[in-house]
């Protein structure tokens, strides 16, 4: 539990039958706007048509008043008595109000906010007890903590997972979801992030007290369209576009990419996926394959949210590779010591794994150390920058 500012600490129970070994359900007051929303919803219904809450329903009576029904009995009530009855059942009523009136119908938002507290799997009592303690969810590098107020309102703390446990007053505090646009533009070294789902989100900030709609907007600003695609996947409606069809669709300067597929297998696409789509590079779980009959040999990753087609970063890189990969291989001869060969491998690994900045200046045990690399260049490059003095193009070209 990171931020207890908006949650009650339990201790009190409602009388919905919680036994001693279950977590405490917090005391919840019925807010006037929730009660008014119930009356409005009933006014929109015909007499006898029930408005359902967990464990009971309410309908307008045929001759005025209201009828509250649970599994045992029906009770006729005036408006004042209805208010009293609903106040006694405030967790269920505020739960209805939170999802039906605050979160609303929009599929991705509703599914996401319900998923946070497992609203489709757990009872109101269980969820309110868990919310009182704080329910934590991970979404990419985000950590979301859901709580409930003593009026049954959901509040959410959103921050970088690395900032779990950091006091809010030590973080840069935001309340406007659109502020997240600035938080996601640069990584912690100040470099532009062209791919929002790259695992390079900088921390040091928090949205400590969001409502459900702003929670959704914040998450969708940090990781655009991820909730929408996750929702489609859960509904069994994710529209995956595989590599082949995506490249076939390209035009203009990207039209060339389709020529990279030569009907000779998909090893080149395996390399693309390994280069760009690995969990170390992108938090989306790759669901696209070479085509709908041919899977790639590379794992798609473990992300919560799916990747439904090669993204624009992949298409742009593939355009470059299409040109580079049209070159013929040739044999070059270089003289290297065994350590120098390993050093070249170390340098490639360090760049590929983004470790260059981690290698300490004086750590000459590291092959990709700057002094080691400068030494290799001084020794093995000629004045034109040719490795081993071997020209890239031979004299007769």
């Amino acid at each position: 539990m990171v931020d207890a500012s908006s949650a009650t600490d339990g201790g009190e129970r409602d009388d919905a039958g919680a036994s001693d070994d279950e977590p405490a359900v917090p005391a919840v007051d019925l807010p006037g706007d929730a009660f008014d929303a119930v009356l409005d919803a009933l006014a929109d219904r015909d007499p006898g048509e029930p408005l359902r809450f967990e464990g009971f329903s309410v309908a307008r009576g045929d001759e005025g008043g209201y009828v509250l029904a649970d599994s045992d009995r029906s009770t006729r009530l005036g408006e004042g008595e209805l208010h009293e009855a609903l106040s006694e059942r405030a967790p269920a009523v505020t739960d209805w109000y939170a999802f039906e009136r605050v979160v609303g119908e929009f599929g991705p938002r509703r599914a996401f906010v319900r998923w946070i507290e497992d609203a489709d799997g757990e009872t109101v009592a269980t969820r309110y007890a868990a919310l009182a303690e704080g329910i934590e969810r991970a979404w990419g590098e985000l950590k979301i903590t859901a709580t409930v107020t003593d009026r049954g309102e959901r509040r959410y703390d959103v921050r970088h997972a690395d900032d779990a446990g950091v006091a809010v007053d030590e973080l840069e505090v935001h309340d406007d979801p659109l502020d997240a646009r600035d938080l996601v533009t640069y990584d912690e070294k100040g470099r532009y992030r062209p791919l929002k789902t790259a695992p390079s989100l900088a921390g040091g900030w928090a949205f400590p007290d969001l409502g459900p709609r702003d929670l959704y907007e914040t998450v969708e600003t940090v990781y655009p369209a991820t909730v929408a695609n996750w929702h489609r996947e859960r509904e069994g409606e994710l529209d995956v576009n595989h590599w082949r069809e995506t490249m076939e669709r390209q035009s203009g300067i990207y039209g060339v990419v389709k020529t990279w597929d030569r009907g000779e297998g998909h090893e080149h696409v395996d390399w693309v996926a390994e280069a760009c789509c690995d969990d170390s590079q992108c938090l989306k779980r790759r669901e696209w394959e070479y085509d709908d009959e041919t899977d790639l040999d590379v794992d798609g990753g473990d992300g919560v949210f799916p990747c439904r087609e090669p993204c624009s970063v992949v298409v742009s890189a593939a355009r470059k590779w299409t040109r580079l990969e049209s070159e013929q291989e040739r044999t070059y001869e270089f003289e290297l010591t065994p350590s120098e060969k390993e050093q070249v491998e170390d340098i490639v690994d360090a760049v590929a794994d983004g470790r260059v900045d981690e290698i300490r200046e004086a750590d000459t045990k590291e092959g990709a150390n700057r002094y080691r690399t400068r030494f290799l260049r001084a020794k093995r490059f000629d004045d034109e920058g040719n490795l081993g003095g071997v020209p890239t193009e031979s004299d007769d070209e």
Binding site: F106, P108, R109, L178, R181, T185, Y186, Y192, P194, L195, K196, T197, E220, P224, A225, A228, N229, R232, D239, R249, S251, G252, R308, E309, C311, S312, V313, S316
Partner: protein
């Protein structure tokens, strides 16, 4: 529920590319005419392919933040948004007159109003003039000044030059500036020779680009001679061959651009209430005049 979707190019390399899109979206959000304002990009996220599935409304207006009709507005955006049955003839345009087409976006199985680009709208003329006011910090700029509107030539897109000429002609008809010229990067009359095309001692140079980036920050300043190398920066104004050039940077960064986005949506049937007046007023304050 009425939704606005602003679609723009964006960049893998330059964070400034999407900045005007976000700024204008914020201005329009504040005006309150739309229940939601979303942004989608070719090179950023959400991508054109996925932006519509983030849209909740049932009346959806898509406005391309592009300067002219061409490859992006006619091919890329309709294809990536999956506008069923799109054909460029839906716009019935002469290269300048695209207004809107109402088509079902297969991605969401709902109709969207696909609008023409902001750059060819008549209201864009006012933005160019406003840009000149902003860069000179003079709401009455005109007398004693020339105005150059610059863009790509026809080499990249035949409609690019049409948009430049259209606005240059409209500004000239107002008799506000002593002279108005359309100049190009790829063809005659070239922006490189700007002082040769003007008699005025002061010339405001407004590039018809959506965002600041390579062309407006590096290419044009160097070509015009505002600086030897763009990394040195330049003053506004800078004197080149006896002409004081007031270089405005990309017109698309001007706050009044939000007005053109709204005009596009209004032309397509959006109910804007008082938003147009509000945006004209707030962007006026933002420019300090």
């Amino acid at each position: 529920m009425q939704s606005l979707v602003i679609v723009a190019h964006g960049s893998h390399l330059n964070p400034e590319s999407s900045a005007p899109t976000y700024d204008h979206a914020d201005t329009i959000r504040a005006a309150g005419a739309f229940d939601e304002v979303r942004t989608g990009f070719w090179k950023e996220e959400p991508h054109f392919r996925e932006v519509l599935r983030t849209v909740e409304g049932d009346e959806v207006y898509v406005v391309p933040l592009f300067v002219s009709e061409g490859y992006f507005t006619e091919q890329v955006i309709p294809r990536e948004l999956r506008l069923d049955g799109w054909d460029v003839s839906e716009w019935g345009s002469d290269g300048l007159s695209a207004d809107q087409a109402t088509l079902v976006a297969e991605d969401i199985d709902r109709e969207v109003h696909y609008c023409g680009p902001v750059g060819t709208h008549r209201a864009m003329t006012d933005v160019i003039v406003r840009r000149a006011e902003s860069v000179t910090d003079d709401p009455d700029v005109g007398e004693g000044f020339g105005l150059a509107v610059v863009g790509h030539g026809t080499e990249r897109n035949e409609n690019s030059a049409k948009a430049i000429e259209y606005h240059a002609d409209r500004i000239a008809e107002r008799d506000r500036f002593d002279e108005v010229q359309a100049l190009y990067m790829d063809e005659e009359p070239e922006v490189d020779d700007l002082p040769d095309h003007f008699e005025s001692d002061d010339v405001v140079l407004v590039p018809l680009f959506i965002a600041d980036g390579y062309h407006t920050q590096e290419d044009i300043p160097e070509d015009v001679g505002l600086c030897e190398d763009h990394t040195e920066g330049y003053d506004v104004p800078t004197e080149v061959d006896g002409t004081r050039i007031w270089y405005a940077g990309a017109v698309g960064t001007e706050p009044l651009m939000a007005d053109v986005v709204l005009e596009r949506a209004a032309d397509a049937g959006a109910d804007l209430g008082a938003a147009l007046d509000d945006v004209r007023e707030t962007t006026r304050v933002a420019t300090g005049d």
